[in-house]
């Protein structure tokens, strides 16, 4: 009866790997938020009218709001299945630090929701007549912003796991905190369209992601412990 506790890094990677494998076996969970994103982005021109000028002007805002909602949609299921099938119990009694496991899960969540959004955003952006340079900045802001959204969202998902009516509550908890990301993400893209400097906005998004990555795993872990009591 020997054997040592596997290292921290092994644990983070293993959790992320397991969730990616699960996503691979159930591709709908990844694709649905993407369709949702594309659909919200389609709704807008239909609702407002096909005026090119208006589309160019509102494109960054619409895409960012749609991305935020799509992220929110995918957050619901983040911890629910682990909570229901007892996996969360097993993670909580493992010798691994819970924040590391939470980080691994968040990482997988970002790779299955944030990253695909970044990758499909150019296609949707082109329908809003966005120039290539602007699309590049859009992808960059989404890349930085969705990291923060995954991390923030994980806290909310951990707080609401196991509650009835958790869905609406999750949005209510996460959306106010997501405002800075939305504001800086969308405004930075508009700035490049008017030819202004975008460095400030990108720096903010990066700094925010760093700040949140240093807080969120601990908050998520604490919330999971409380929710699983």
């Amino acid at each position: 009866m020997d054997g040592e506790t596997p290292g921290l890094f092994t644990a983070v990677v293993a959790v992320a790997r397991r969730d990616l494998l699960l996503a691979w076996k159930r591709p709908g969970d990844v694709l649905n938020p993407l369709f949702f994103f594309a659909m919200v982005a389609t709704l807008f021109p239909l609702a407002v009218g096909p005026s090119n000028e208006q589309l160019e002007f509102s494109g960054p805002g619409v895409l960012w709001a749609a991305a935020l909602l799509a992220m929110l949609l995918s957050l619901n299921s983040l911890f629910v299945s682990d909570f229901e099938d007892g996996s969360l119990d097993q993670m909580l009694v493992s010798p691994q630090p819970l924040p590391a496991l939470a980080l691994g899960k968040t990482l997988a969540h970002w790779m299955t929701s944030g990253l695909p959004l970044v990758l499909v955003s150019p296609v949707v952006a082109l329908t809003f007549r966005m120039p290539v340079a602007v699309v590049g900045v859009l992808m960059l802001t989404l890349l930085l912003g969705t990291i923060s959204l995954s991390l923030l969202g994980a806290i909310g998902a951990a707080l609401t796991v196991g509650l009835h009516r958790g869905t609406a509550l999750l949005s209510l908890l996460v959306l106010p905190f997501a405002m800075p990301v939305l504001i800086f993400g969308a405004r930075t893209v508009s700035l490049v369209a008017t030819g202004d400097s975008v460095a400030g906005g990108l720096y903010f998004l990066a700094a925010y992601a760093v700040l949140i990555v240093s807080i969120a795993p601990f908050a998520t872990a604490a919330a999971l412990r409380i929710s699983n009591e």
């Binding site: 009866m1 293993a14 699960l22 009694v93 010798p95």
Partner: protein
Amino acid sequence: MTAQLSGHDLTLFRGERCLFRGVEFALNPGEMLLLEGLNGSGKTSLMRAIAGLLEFETGEIRWHGEPTRVQRQAFHDSLVWMAHRVGFKADLTLTENLDFEAALRPSASADRDEVFRRLGLSRLKRLPLRSLSAGQQRRVALARMLLSAATLWLMDEPVTNLDRDGRRLVAALVQEHLVRGGMCIMAAHQDVQIEATVHRVLLQ
């Protein structure tokens, strides 16, 4: 001499209901602790609280004489828990699930194929767990225990859904574990036939 694992003055509340009060126990290598009581008497809650998932209102669990809450990692290093729910992913195969398990906690040197053969899981290891029966899922949970290096086994109703062979198998596995110097805390309706020092906690 202090016991390797002991509980002192344990009181637990669920919401506003008091499940039990002033529970004491002590457990040493090779011994077993049987939690008895009717359904809803708090056996599962006591087990969850021992594992550190619930907070006691009063009292504490000590591992080698030290409170577990100040040495969570060391305690969890030596603990494996067979809960009601298997705690594996239904969409993944047995092998994939156990690979993940191996990244979480210390593994025993036991050979995986050997364990599968013993539990009668050899043919099933490439199937998603979803397609296994309830009894087979219990055996899968047993596989987790046998493949971990933990000395303390927590077993919550381990023989539910098992046929007579399965029940005998559980008894044999626990017996071997105790002989090797392991410990076991079990919550069970049915009496499990085990030759060892068995302590009992009766929850009203």
